[in-house]
């Protein structure tokens, strides 16, 4: 473990141990880290998005800092998160009617039809989701297939950032997934349990455990 790696993060050169992630290395820097950080390595919060350029390479790629292992000479710039001015407003109860899902999608996310197939979203996605295909499926009305592609999405918004047509693909995917659950999920045992509770059944005896534990 004596070998030390040097990487530069947002203009600060930092020492790292082999096997460390970019995010871990960043925590050793001189400034308190207050953004682009959340789950610390699980790779689910999507906050630590960054641009990475390896030494001697021409390509600069988007990555999650918590899942990227440092290499000597690596250069890293973090990418801000912020809510864009233009978002697509809808409310969950708008999604109840499955026959309306496609027309509403077109109304809520009209840009979906404008995809010009540049592939930037696919290249930007740290999860390897075929984002562009998802958008193509969605605009064709193949909604379950489109929704399924966005299942592992962590909402890092890199595809939204990468899209030159302002499509916000991850939000389209989430819209479709939500519509699916809202329309289809009616578990019988949940319906019965809620009905029992509405009738005042199944109240909990909060003292019974005392008797049981003393016996």
């Amino acid at each position: 473990m004596s070998e030390t790696i040097r990487i530069s993060i947002d203009g600060k050169v930092m020492a790292a141990q082999p096997g460390d992630s970019i995010l871990q290395t960043r925590l050793h820097g001189p400034d308190a880290v207050t953004a682009n950080i959340g789950c610390m390595g699980q790779g689910v919060c999507g906050s630590c998005r960054c641009l990475v350029r390896k030494a001697g390479e021409r390509d600069t790629v988007s990555r999650l800092a918590c899942e990227t292992v440092v290499e000597d000479g690596m250069q890293v710039s973090f990418i801000d998160y912020y809510q864009p001015d233009h978002v697509h407003h809808y409310r969950p109860h708008d999604l109840r009617d499955g026959w309306q899902t496609l027309p509403q999608l077109q109304q809520t996310f009209p840009e979906t039809a404008h995809c010009r197939h540049c592939g930037g979203c696919d290249r930007a996605c740290p999860r390897g989701i075929p984002v562009q295909q998802g958008i193509a499926l969605a605009s064709r009305g193949e909604l379950p297939a489109a929704a399924a592609l966005f299942d592992p999405c962590i909402m890092c918004n890199l595809c939204t950032l990468a899209c030159p047509e302002n499509i916000r693909p991850n939000h389209v995917g989430l819209y479709l997934r939500r519509a699916q659950a809202i329309q289809n999920l009616r578990p019988g045992e949940l319906l019965r349990r809620l009905d029992q509770q509405a009738r005042g059944q199944l109240a909990i005896d909060t003292t019974a455990y005392l008797a049981r534990s003393s016996s």
Binding site: S8, I9, D10, G11, K12, D31, L51, R53, R58, D59, T60, V61, S62, Q75, V76, S77, F78, I79, D80, Y82, R116, C118, G119, G120, C121, R123, A124, L158, L161, A162, C163, P164, E165
Partner: protein, 416 residues
């Protein structure tokens, strides 16, 4: 004022779409000369040292020769009139006020490279130029000139006027090709260069409007005449789009190599409200800033290059003391961020982050770490895109950081 507007903006050639008026003003003589000796055209252009006026300043004859020598049975010539850069407004003026000098130059180019197809690729957001060019081209199509040209070529020449997407990125050479092939102007990797494999893999010559506008004059008056127009080693004239904090902004045609001082203070009438000259954004505006130290620079491609900047399209956006460089840079980076085509996440995300950081600096709510981050982005982004958009964006940011560190508060911190 005898040096002003000698050729392209000469009042005598501002005849609009009327072909008869153009011919009356001496039009057609260049094409006639070309038809007399088609094989000598490229030589003549080379002798004149005509440069690519779209921004590169690359000797025009090299692309012509490469296209002429490349193998292909359906070569193309494209007149690139996509002009969309902030501060550049020369091509639209030429296209709407004197379209025939552009068409005639393009016809000569088609003859020189033996093209089968000539396309005028024009920005639809400038609708007067698109409309005027359609009128102008149809008059040529009905004239005997085109028969003579077909005869010389040995095959007919197809001429089209096409509206471009109007996006900034659509002016890049490979994006022009992509746009004319498939619709969306996605830049492509080079090589291959369009002169070898362009539209439908055919050799394609792509020249800027201003470049082609000069051609008929050169053929008519000779290379020596053109060379003599310039100052010193520079040849010909240049259209300078002067804007910003000057008294008389506008389009000026001056001898190539006229000084910045002359442009701003003589022709431009000096600084607005007598404020001191601070800097000028040249060409895209994606180049290194020129400052008061550079007022003596000769505005030709080579001289500006020696000052580590570029003449670019000849746009000169002048900034006075009292205007914020950072605000301007932020505005341009925003333009680039919106114009980025999306193919390369590094460009789309990189320009976004540059814009975010500049917005914070401009708003005075940045931390020292934000300035480090800004400088760092300038290191990791160049070269990461397929085209030069990200490089241009970085150049202007880097230059403003280098030239005006005090505006970023960089010097203040060092002394504090």
């Amino acid at each position: 004022m005898e040096k002003l507007n000698q050729v392209l903006l000469n009042p005598a050639v501002q005849v609009g779409p009327d072909l008869a008026a153009w011919l009356h003003a001496g039009g057609g003589l260049g094409l006639q000369a070309a038809l007399g000796a088609p094989s000598a055209i490229i030589r003549c252009i080379a002798d004149a040292d005509l440069r690519g006026m779209g921004g590169a300043g690359f000797p025009a004859w090299r692309k012509w020769e490469a296209t002429a020598n490349a193998v292909g049975d359906c070569k193309y010539v494209v007149c690139n009139g996509n002009e969309d850069e902030p501060g550049t407004f020369k091509d639209r003026t030429l296209l709407s006020a004197s379209p025939h000098q552009v068409v005639e130059g393009a016809l000569i180019a088609a003859l020189a490279v033996r093209a089968r197809c000539l396309i005028f690729y024009l920005n639809p957001h400038q609708d007067s130029s698109l409309h005027t060019m359609q009128q102008a081209v149809s008059q040529w199509q009905d004239s005997p000139w085109l028969d003579k040209l077909s005869h010389a070529l040995g095959h007919p020449l197809d001429i089209k006027v096409v509206a471009s997407s109007g996006r900034y990125i659509g002016g890049e050479e490979t994006a022009v090709v992509a746009s004319l092939e498939a619709g969306f102007p996605f830049p492509r990797k080079k090589p291959p260069f369009p002169a070898e494999q362009g539209i439908n893999n055919q050799p394609t010559l792509i020249n800027n409007v201003e470049t082609l506008a000069n051609v008929s004059h050169i053929l008519r008056h000779g290379a020596g005449w053109y060379r003599a127009l310039g100052v010193g080693k520079a040849c010909g004239t240049k259209l300078y789009s002067l804007s910003g904090d000057v008294l008389r902004p506008g389009l000026y045609e001056l001898p190539m190599g006229s000084s910045l001082q002359e442009l701003v203070f003589h022709y431009g009438g000096g600084m607005l409200q007598g404020k001191a000259f601070k800097a000028v954004f040249t060409g895209g505006p994606s180049n290194t800033l020129l400052t008061a130290r550079d007022l003596d620079v000769a505005l030709d491609f080579d001289s500006v290059w020696l000052r580590h900047s570029r003449l670019g399209t000849g746009a000169m956006i002048v900034i006075s003391e009292g205007s914020s460089i950072i605000r301007k840079v932020a505005e341009y980076i925003d333009f680039f961020a919106k114009g980025s085509c999306g193919q390369c996440p590094s460009c789309k995300c990189g320009t976004f982050q540059l814009a975010r950081l500049l917005d914070r600096v401009d708003g005075g709510r940045h931390s020292p770490a934000d300035l480090d981050a800004l400088q760092h982005l300038c290191q990791i982004l160049p070269g990461s895109g397929r085209c030069g958009l990200i490089d241009g964006a970085v150049t202007v940011v880097k230059s403003s950081l280098h030239t005006f560190p005090e505006e970023y508060g960089l010097l203040v911190q060092q002394t504090a």
